[in-house]
């Protein structure tokens, strides 16, 4: 008798559990394509700046997500004399040219996107003069004019500062020049752009403070 009751109880339980529904659509949309954004392939970077690229994965349902840090970034092997690539950032090391950058996931050919990045040349540059009425420490900056008409843009990369009077009233650390304007005497600072290049892009100017 008890056996019959238990069997009946289990049968009811089985029927109850079996009545559940089955999901028929995948809960996670599949990947569709990998792109480097924006996808108009019109990338430009000033020769003394850097360009950060972004990778986007688009799914079958039309949604998309940032995949910048999930993909591998690669620079075409012919372009190592023109720019460096650190993660998703392009750093020009020449004053002109273009490089091809790829974003690829697990070396899958279907998930490989490439863009050409062109470098906008610097035409000339200058050291921003220090106000003669300023006192105390002052960070020296350089700005440049570029081939695309952009002027007075601060120069961040590909500039080397030097001074024969370093450790006096001039401190250069991590390529940042700090001048103590409370000092006395003539001080001279030199800035060189693309100093490793053997062409007209290699420019040097000198700035003096009395």
């Amino acid at each position: 008798m008890i056996f019959t009751k238990i069997l009946l109880l289990l049968s009811v339980t089985l029927i109850f559990i079996s009545c559940g529904e089955n999901t028929t659509e995948a809960v996670t949309s599949d990947i569709n394509k990998l792109t480097i954004d924006p996808s108009d392939n019109n990338y430009q970077v000033h020769s003394t700046s850097k360009l950060e690229l972004q990778a986007t994965i688009t799914y079958d349902d039309g949604t998309y997500a940032d995949a910048t840090h999930s993909v591998s970034w690669k620079l075409d092997s012919d372009d190592y004399n023109t720019a460096n690539l650190l993660s998703n950032s392009v750093y020009p090391i020449a004053n002109s040219g273009s490089v091809s950058v790829s974003a690829i996931y697990r070396n899958l050919a279907d998930f490989n996107s490439s863009v050409d990045v062109s470098i906008i040349p610097l035409t000339n540059f200058y050291i921003v003069p220090i106000d003669s009425n300023t006192t105390g420490e002052h960070i020296l900056k350089a700005k440049g004019n570029f081939d695309d008409g952009v002027n007075d843009k601060e120069i961040i990369y590909n500039i080397v500062w030097s001074s024969s009077q370093e450790d006096d009233d001039i401190y250069i650390e991590n390529n940042v020049v700090t001048i103590d304007l409370d000092g006395t005497g003539d001080r001279t600072i030199t800035a060189s752009i693309f100093s490793g290049e053997d062409d007209e892009s290699n420019q040097t100017i000198t700035y003096s403070i009395k």
Binding site: I2, F3, I6, L7, L10, T13, L14, I15, I17, S18, C19, G20, E21, N22, T23, T24, E25, A26, V27, T28, S29, D30, I31, L34, I57, Y59, D60, A65, D66, A67, S70, V71, Y105, R106, L108, D110, F111
Partner: protein
Amino acid sequence: MKKIILFLLLVSSLFGEAKVYLGTNYGSYEENFTNSIDAQSSTQAFSIKAGYGRRGAYAVELALEYIQNQANIFSTKSQSDGDKYGMNINLLKAYDFGIYILPYLKVGIGAGTMTIDRTLQDRLYYSSYNIGTGLFIPINKTYDIELGYDYRYTTYQSIDTIAENVMYKSHINIAYLGINARF
């Protein structure tokens, strides 16, 4: 050394008069994914098992499992998740209250795999923590019928979406009927 001897004595007492047993289970399977997604699977589960222990005391049980899959939760290309093939290892404790039937409790772990059809993955693995309860209903000294219920907390291998790896977890309920032969 004393501890080892005591442990061996304990184990030998737990499995005193132990027998090997073979059996099979057939049951109803329901799976509900945790609240990150609204998905469920309802189907049948079949397993064959081999155990070592006493009908009214402790036993260790290894079960190979087949779960027919009627849902599609992961596949995007062919719209069909494959059937699941798994393995479970459980430690079982039965109680003989002298009332003819022998209730039991069990705990264990499991793992399995299934085929899926996605751009980056064609197979998915899963693992689970298992607890269960049920009854042995002796037919004679050799055979018994088993009625049981298993709960499993399952974790699936991550789904690769490039931007992130999405890991799903689920609650599984299985009610089953089985038969065992003890030698």
